[in-house]
Amino acid sequence: MTSVADGQRDAAVANFSPVEYMAFLPWALERKLKVRVLRETAALDLFSHVTEPGEGNLVVGVARYESDLETIDRNLGYPLCCVEAHWTRNVDPMAEWAGVHATADPFCNPLLRYVGLRLCPHIPCSPHCQESSKLGRALAGYLDQGVVARVVELLSDVTWDSYRGTAIVTARPFRIILGTVPLDERVVVRMKGAAHGAR
């Protein structure tokens, strides 16, 4: 949201509980941001690709100009290559990177998004997408740099191993086990590499 206020992006979308929203609203209005509740959904407990109608979670759009809220999906600041890739995907995006053993920039690594550990706000079109890395770095500038350093460290070696509907995501200190799109073949993606130009 700060990135929108700063002009880094035209618009952004975030999930808030009603209580969080009430705290957020004065902050946004003070910065002359335009705010719109786009959808009300069931409360989110964990990571999810989809939401269900219900109560407890507000999907909120924020922009500097009212007109940007009208066409918010086009103004979120995601690189065009990634937007295009998003609309052509039909399985888990990670599965499309099957066999990738990439030396990838942690700022462009989405493999720990299930627990909220990501610096790039979207799934890049490829592990080497430079526009996504750029955006990830710009947004990381708004975070506590100690936290960023730790997240970069965690994202510097992650394996995503999916088989028959269960993915095992392994970072050095922990594993995440989650349901995913069931595939007949085992699919392994490994993203390893230090941040270019970062400590």
């Binding site: 088989y163 028959r164 509907g165 269960t166 086990i177 349901g179 069931p182 085992r186």
Partner: protein, 365 residues
């Protein structure tokens, strides 16, 4: 559930097919913290099967005796019975006295006499033991079982079945004769486990066809003589009769929150059964159970390597994740055909005696 304390994650033997091989090779097990382990024991579940506290490893007898005694004393103060799992190679008199004094039930692991036990090599992994050294160690273990029985300890034994002790009819016959002889000496219960080999040693895991044959032979023998308290064959009958699933290998299992084993690691932290730990990582116990594996296996038809439509699902649940095909816990057990063959055998027997008999849904915990 068994509460298992792992005071030592190391072993004096180097057994082919040992499911802890990768853990030993990887190293890095936490250091023993006696007080934290004691606290974890006090806080562990103590209802039903979990009442007993088991000392496991690695090889539990490598724990310094004063430390072991401190643990035994603590468990006794909680009013809980205790067990120890050991290869029985190292049972000095002082340890024997301790086991007797604290009435510890002993589980041993011996795959048979002499050459039938040669999968249990006499030196740890990475060191080469000769057959003669290994046979001497086996003789010592067998003698120690005799010593423990002579002192009135309750002893049961686990046999891992492989080409070495069950690959030929001659070997299998000698194995059964040995089991009967030790039963007469006082070894009460026996558990036969098909070897699951996921590490780079020379292959001795039984082929699927041989595993079916050996399992059926042992099951038939178990049902032919009431002295033979042989598991899992007796439990499998109980399963089909609607008892609570007898063995954790046939109950639904989450490898990151194992119901069968509530492990207390050397630093007092909580872990899991090590059978699925193919990469040697001692994973922390997840706070809740998840059943992704069972969901996926049920969704996949038998023809695609799943369990969808299998008539034995309710009594097997895809088997132990540590036996997953290709060393992947997401797959069903590689011993599927042996398990189903035994269930078929039991069904034929029971239906022969009572034609209207049908398997009972197991009693859900």
């Amino acid at each position: 559930m068994t509460v298992e304390v792992l005071p030592v994650v190391a072993c004096n033997l180097g057994c082919t097919g040992c499911y802890e091989t990768a853990v030993f090779e990887r190293g890095g097990a936490p250091k023993l913290d006696v007080e934290k382990v004691k606290t974890a024991i006090s806080e562990s579940p103590s209802e039903g099967n979990a009442k007993a506290v088991g000392f496991h490893g690695g090889e539990a007898t490598l724990t310094p005796l004063p430390v072991l005694e401190e643990f035994f004393k603590h468990v006794r103060s909680l009013g809980r019975p205790m067990t120890i799992q050991t290869n029985a190679v190292r049972v000095p008199d002082a340890l024997l006295d301790l086991l007797v004094s604290y009435k510890v039930q002993v589980g041993t692991s011996l795959n048979g006499p002499a050459d039938l036990n040669r999968d249990r090599r006499a030196l740890p992994h990475g060191r080469c033991a000769t057959d003669a050294e290994t046979d001497a160690t086996t003789a010592q273990a067998e003698a120690n079982i005799g010593r423990m029985l002579a002192r009135g300890l309750s002893v049961s034994n686990i046999i891992v079945l492989s080409e070495t002790n069950a690959g030929t009819s001659e070997a299998l016959t000698r194995l059964v004769q040995w089991v009967d002889r030790l039963t007469d000496l006082g070894v009460k219960r026996w558990r036969f486990i098909l070897m699951t080999q996921d590490h780079g040693e020379s292959r001795v895991e039984l082929s699927s066809e041989r595993a079916v044959f050996v399992s059926k032979v042992l099951a038939e023998l178990a049902y032919a003589d009431t002295r033979r308290k042989w598991e899992p064959f007796m439990e499998m009958v109980g399963n089909l009769r609607g008892h609570r699933i007898g063995s954790c290998t046939q109950a639904p299992c989450d490898p990151f929150h194992t119901d069968g084993v509530y492990a207390i690691l050397p630093d007092g932290s909580l872990g899991n059964c090590l059978r699925p730990a193919k990469d040697g990582v001692l994973t922390a116990r997840a706070p809740t159970r998840e059943f992704h594996r069972q969901d996926a296996l049920q969704a996949l038809p038998l023809t695609d390597g799943g369990c969808g439509g299998c008539q034995w699902w309710a009594w097997c649940h895809g088997g132990c994740p540590g036996e997953g095909t290709d060393g992947d816990w997401r797959n069903k057990t590689r011993h599927c055909s042996a398990i189903t063959a035994v269930y078929e055998l039991i069904k034929r027997r029971l239906k022969g005696m009572a034609p209207d008999w049908t398997p009972a849904e197991y009693a859900k915990p």
